[in-house]
């Protein structure tokens, strides 16, 4: 496995590092290293949305909430399966999946607020293997669904060639749209069985807008990764 300089490492892969500070924003967060995003290594901290007290598991947070904040209605609990790890989190009915990802889970990679109206694709995640805009999906409607984000894909050893191709081709200029494009890249590789044509890649990525104009680099990166991964499969 090639060593990738830290500076060039995708934001997506390191997003979880910010967990400790993000916990102040919401209900829970991942505190782990980039590699720790892989299931067994990660530590999840549950933070009370009212007083900020932290707990090691969801039941304790729930008990605390019903005890200490009796005057408030207990928020809805939703179970997500994010990057193959199950999380119980508190969400509000009107939260979009994007808000739940950043506020309740602490994953910033795909939780980008750009247009927030479904026009730019910066918040694309995979729900049950299909791309969906997390800004236009309600969190409560994702109960029990399997959600994949760029953090999970970046940490998946199987998709290491894709990550390396993305770094090698310098696909991130400002980097804001990159995690979503990277997530779409996994979908494209799977949909076209690791042999997408340029036309197919361009069609599938056409909903992901990049103001820096890195489109050609994504096509190159995905084509390279496809060639490498097809042989290895």
């Amino acid at each position: 496995m090639a060593q990738i300089p830290r500076r060039e490492f995708l934001k997506a892969g390191t997003a979880a590092l910010a967990g400790a500070t993000l916990s102040a924003l919401g209900l829970g967060s991942i505190t782990a290293s980039a590699e720790g995003v892989i299931a067994e290594k990660q530590v999840f901290v549950y933070t009370c949305p009212v007083c900020g007290k932290q707990f090691s598991d969801f039941e304790k947070l729930k008990a605390h909430f019903t005890g200490a904040h009796q005057e408030l209605e207990l928020p809805k609990t939703v179970t997500f399966r994010i990057n193959n790890v199950e999380y119980d989190v508190f969400v509000e009915d009107h939260w979009t999946l994007r808000e739940a990802l950043i506020r309740a889970i602490g994953l910033t990679g795909n939780a980008k607020q750009m247009c927030d109206r479904g026009g730019c694709g910066s918040c694309t995640v995979l729900i049950d293997g299909k791309p969906a805009l997390s800004c236009s999906t309600l969190a409560v409607e994702c109960e029990g669904k399997s959600i994949e984000t760029s953090e999970g894909i970046a940490a998946d050893p199987e998709y290491r060639p894709l990550l390396e191709a993305y770094v090698r081709n310098d696909t991130a200029q400002c980097g804001y749209c990159t995690p979503a494009q990277f997530t779409m890249a996994k979908y494209i590789l799977n949909k076209y069985e690791f042999a997408p044509t340029e036309e197919q890649i361009r069609l599938e990525l056409s909903g992901n807008i990049c103001r820096c104009g890195t489109y050609a680099r994504h096509v190159k990166a995905i084509t390279e990764a496809a060639a490498e991964m097809k042989g290895g499969k």
Binding site: D93, H94, R117, G118, K130, A132, L133, C135, S136, S206
Partner: protein
């Protein structure tokens, strides 16, 4: 978004009963609704959102005799990819594959696409700043204001907003029937512009499925500023019915998709290069251009001709 309560419906009847209440809105794909709620562009804000996605059995695409029956919750991408639809209702498959962006097609449903609200920028201005004719106001602001994307075929109900659904002209040309919880409506009548809604649904009435008659020969064309993700400036669907009569429907040129009967007359004797040109001319023979949208006339003329020629050349 401002808070609301979320309810998951288990049957369409239950959802329809809930939807009859004033402070309830329904959500399927959510790609249109959540944007309007974030912008707060409507005169009211719902206290409850009813999720239709939890209703089983409404997402199927089936063959039933001479018809294709498509559930209201069928995803646009699934319709575009369906071999059945591509063979027997090509215009609809093409319309679904050209609507919005690939990701939105994976989320958006057929029912949602035909029920979406118009995309006039006065109507959809955040914080409900323009109480326009479509919202029950006195004035259509596009008449004097910026109307580059508005109707070229006249005004309806005091409103100049152009219909923006891609599937609507295809369904109208194919002679589809919209089955709601209360009745069955021919597509052409269904899309009649009516106040806030882009269709004639009553309160508490929901689309259940769409019945599309099998049609051997039909095509759809769309012109938009960005090919990858955009609403149509003009779209056009043509279909040859069982009696070999050609139906031509123009979308995004009028508050509802409009059947071009004069253009249909022009190709009665068969489609040729010359008659397709004549049909294009006939389609835009009675236009009412506004200050900034005259350019759409030429696009409409060309699109009618182009779609007709695809019908005979492919």
């Amino acid at each position: 978004m401002r808070p609301f309560k979320h309810i998951q419906a288990s049957t369409i009847e239950e959802a329809a009963a809930l939807a009859a209440h004033e402070d309830v809105m329904v959500i399927a794909g959510g790609t249109d609704l959540l944007g309007t709620l974030k912008d707060e562009c409507l005169p009211y804000y719902p206290n409850y959102i009813v999720d239709l996605k939890t209703i089983p059995g409404l997402a199927s695409i089936e063959e039933q005799g001479d018809e294709i029956v498509i559930g209201a919750l069928a995803k646009l991408q699934d319709i575009a990819d369906s071999e059945l639809v591509r063979t027997h209702a090509q215009a609809l498959a093409e319309a679904c594959s050209r609507a919005a962006s690939p990701t939105i097609r994976q989320m958006g449903t057929l029912g949602g696409n035909i029920c979406q609200m118009h995309r006039c920028w006065y109507f959809r201005c955040p914080d409900n700043r323009f109480v326009c004719a479509r919202k029950g106001g006195k004035e259509c602001y596009a008449y004097k204001g910026d109307n580059r994307y508005h109707s070229i075929l006249g005004i309806e109900g005091g409103c100049l907003a152009a219909s923006s659904h891609d599937t609507a002209p295809a369904l109208a040309a194919l002679g589809a029937t919209i089955v709601t919880t209360a009745r069955e409506i021919p597509a052409e009548e269904f899309f009649a512009a009516n106040g806030l809604r882009s269709n004639i649904l009553e309160n508490g009435e929901l689309v259940k499925k769409v019945r599309v008659p099998k049609t051997a020969n039909s095509r759809f064309e769309k012109f938009a500023l960005r090919k990858s993700i955009d609403f149509p400036l003009v779209n056009c669907a043509v279909a040859e019915d069982a009696a070999h009569q050609v139906h031509i429907v123009l979308g995004a040129c009028y508050p509802s998709p409009k059947r071009m009967t004069e253009a249909e007359e022009a190709v009665k004797g068969g489609i040729t290069e010359a008659s397709a040109q004549a049909a294009g001319d006939a389609a835009v023979s009675k236009v009412m251009v506004l200050s900034k949208n005259e350019y759409k006339v030429e696009i409409a003329r060309t699109l009618v001709k182009r779609t007709l020629l695809r019908l005979i050349n492919e």
